[in-house]
């Protein structure tokens, strides 16, 4: 569908998508443009304007997806965008030539207020009734022809995610100038408008929708005070079990493949810098991260399933009381939940939080939620050092430790929010309202395409930022070349050279600072490199061990058996492993997150504050963990 528009002479027709949150705007946007913008079954998925091209009936169209809004009087930053776009207040963004108003057919009554406000703008407008399948399933009926008469604008009914009704919509879109316009716009005054809504409803609503039987039945369990909590716990425990149980075979297969690729390079290329560079630099580094693809796939599949089914808003409802105690609202919790995928969308989702102060607190604590970039680090260390023993039936130790790390992150985020609210950012508490969407069966294609989007983002990072840092690090780990003393046994020669390389020198210089945390110079190099992105510590360690080991062993095996050159003690003791895990729970090692905080708060100061307080927290927590575990182990 989306094609580059040939020649600059044709200005595309601009069509804006306006509608209540969760009414199916992005689903339509994706169907029209062929793009894959984020869709989810909770209000407030889209938080910024997004444009996409389509050619329909030979006419070039630019479709503009907008955040959902209940009214054109904004109360949060994402809603403000809608008004700005519709009124042409953003520089270089022209006012749309036509508007597509989406209305969830099951909430026609409420949506008519927004329709009235949009019609008052005077732009050519058409109305798309979405979720017509649900209206029918719930026994409701709307007379489309009468609705068209009552509003005086074109009306199209669709089932967005299945593409039903899109042909009629496509036939309409290329010519907004020809759309019917209301003879008299609806009243703007509050009381008159209420009367207007009632009169329209009287005419067009043949039968109102009954409660959704499915949603009722599921909510009876999910929102049950006891059963719901129990169910939540079971789902969480199982989820982290599966990440290890299901991903391990696939991981081992990729790991084996990478090892063979490395050996193949060594066999085909003459021994020397080029072979070393490819095998120890590129393949070991990038491959070390790529082996965690199965875990990433599992994580995102579950996350998106929960999101598309409609669970997120319920989770926000259940924990709102706790959030209230801390001084936040349930909506901030939804933003924090999206940070499980990645802190960047999580921080952006804070735009749906009306209070600026709450928004800031949400942004500052979002990096504490365990993002998917931490997963490779956790999986490496847990896979190597936590025995795969069973604690109780199918519940294994590794999954429990992983769950514990996720919980530690979430609890710290809440604690940090509570402290920030009481100190740095004191102020009044804010109102909270949240619509609970009906449960929906997500189309498999949608889940698959979203998971694929996340997986390809992961692979793209491996191919760009991780590849680049791997290449730079290989240089720093290889040069300068030094004279190895001849009396040194052959197996120590590589390690000797490594410790005197540029990276090794840097790591050694760092040792006094990180020694109290139980880290040696190799971990230090990994920590510095991971400032670019957290997974880089995995690729860095993979490179260091690939360069220092004679034969190809897996990274897991290498860190398990590594010993200090001078003392001969194990490098990764239980205390060191625990301390390193805790460090990653807290530290903000991610350039994109910092850049996003800067953009969203419009200040480098807050980005620096977030980095600083999390670094202090990470250092302190690691220090304590190291001492405590060391004393007990």
């Amino acid at each position: 569908m989306s094609e580059a528009i040939a020649g600059a002479s044709v200005t595309p027709l601009r069509l804006g998508l306006v509608g209540s949150p969760n009414s199916g705007k992005t689903t339509l946007f994706n169907a029209l443009t062929g793009l894959r913008a984020k869709v989810g079954n909770y209000p407030g998925v889209t938080v910024e304007r997004r444009e996409g091209d389509a050619t329909i009936g030979g006419r070039a169209l630019r479709v503009i997806d907008l955040p959902g809004t209940y009214s054109l009087d904004p109360i949060s930053p994402d809603e403000a965008v809608v008004r700005q776009v519709l009124e042409g207040q953003i520089a270089d963004v022209a006012t749309p030539d036509g508007l597509i108003v989406t209305v969830d057919a099951c909430t026609l009554e409420r949506s008519l207020v927004l329709v009235a406000q949009v019609l008052a703008l005077g732009l050519p407008t058409c109305l798309v009734l979405t979720m017509t399948d649900e209206l029918k399933a719930r026994g409701g009926e709307i007379d489309h022809a009468l609705l068209r008469d009552a509003l005086g604008i074109p009306v199209v009914g669709v089932v967005g995610h299945r593409g039903l009704g899109l042909a009629a919509l496509r036939a309409l879109l290329p010519d907004p100038g020809a759309w019917e316009r209301p003879a008299v716009p609806p009243p703007v005054d509050d009381a008159d408008r209420n009367g207007w809504v009632v009169s329209v409803l009287d005419r067009v609503l043949v039968k109102p929708a009954a409660r959704s039987a499915r949603t009722e039945a599921i909510d009876r369990i999910v929102l049950h005070p006891v059963l719901g909590t129990l169910l939540f716990t079971v789902v969480m425990v199982l989820f982290f079990q599966l990440i290890f149980a299901w991903a391990t075979p696939a991981m081992d297969a990729i790991d084996g493949g990478m090892g063979q690729l490395g050996e193949f390079v060594r066999l085909t290329l003459p021994a020397g810098f080029l072979a070393d560079f490819l095998a120890d630099g590129v393949i070991a580094g990038v491959g070390g991260v790529i082996i965690f693809l199965p875990q990433i796939l599992l994580l995102f599949t579950l996350l998106y399933l929960l999101e598309d089914v409609g669970y997120m808003a319920r989770a926000a409802f259940v924990v709102d009381r706790v959030m209230g105690r801390i001084g936040l609202e349930g909506r901030a919790f939804v933003a924090l939940l999206s940070s499980y995928a990645c802190a960047v969308p999580g921080i952006m989702a804070a735009r749906t939080v009306p209070s600026p102060r709450h928004r800031l607190v949400t942004i500052l604590v979002a990096p504490l939620m365990t993002c998917s970039a931490r997963l490779p680090v956790y999986a490496l260390l847990i896979g190597a050092f936590v025995p795969a023993t069973s604690v109780m039936g199918p519940i294994g130790m590794q999954g429990l430790v992983l769950l514990g790390l996720y919980l530690l992150g979430a609890l710290s985020a809440l604690a940090a929010a509570a402290i920030l609210n009481r100190t740095v950012l004191r102020g009044e508490s804010m109102p909270f309202y949240l619509e609970l969407p009906p449960y929906r069966v997500p189309p498999l294609r949608l889940v698959a395409s979203q998971v694929w989007g996340a997986a390809s983002a992961f692979l793209k990072r491996a191919g760009t930022i991780i590849l680049a840092t791997s290449m730079v690090l290989w240089m720093l780990l290889t040069f300068p070349q030094v004279e190895v003393p001849p009396e040194l046994p052959a197996e120590s020669a590589a390690a000797y050279q490594l410790e005197r390389s540029a990276a090794g020198t840097l790591g050694r210089a760092l040792e006094p600072f990180i020694e109290p945390l139980g880290f040696d110079w190799k971990i230090g190099v990994g920590l510095v490199a991971s400032l670019a992105a957290r997974e880089v510590i995995v690729s860095t360690l993979a490179q260091i061990y690939a360069a220092s080991e004679e034969d190809e062993v897996s990274l897991r095996e290498a860190i398990r058996t590594d010993r200090h050159t001078e003392t001969g003690e194990l490098v990764f003791t239980p205390a060191t492993v625990a301390s390193l895990l805790v460090f990653f729970v807290f530290a903000l090692q991610c350039m994109s997150t910092l850049a996003t905080i800067r953009r969203e708060t419009n200040s480098w100061g807050w980005a620096a504050f977030a980095f600083g307080y999390l670094l202090v927290l990470a250092y302190g927590a690691s220090f304590v963990t190291y001492r405590v575990v060391d004393a007990f182990a």
């Binding site: 009554e109 409420r110 909510d219 709102d320 009306p354 309202y433 619509e435």
Partner: protein
């Protein structure tokens, strides 16, 4: 004719008609946008595990409000709680 009570006092399962939203400013406006307008029918459907917030059903949608907001909406109960209320 029953007397008006705050929405937050409406028992789970009970039906009522909105009398007025007594909250000023953007929050009151937003509640009206969500459908809390005079004569709108509203039901209290569920309570969160700790009793607050609650889910109200209004014009075909389920909206979750905290006590602090719900107490600013005056409603008039129109009917005794029907049998089989959910969360009690």
């Amino acid at each position: 004719m029953s007397v008006a009570i705050p929405l937050s006092e409406l028992p789970v399962g009970a039906l009522a008609a909105v009398v007025a939203v007594e909250i000023d400013g953007p929050v009151g406006r937003r509640l009206r946008d969500l459908g809390f307008r005079p004569d709108a029918a509203v039901t209290c459907r569920r309570r969160a595990p700790l009793g607050d917030p609650r889910v109200y059903e209004l014009a075909g949608s389920q909206i979750c409000l905290r006590r602090s907001e719900a107490s600013g909406i005056q409603v008039r109960p129109t009917q005794a709680p029907p049998t089989g209320s959910d969360n009690e």
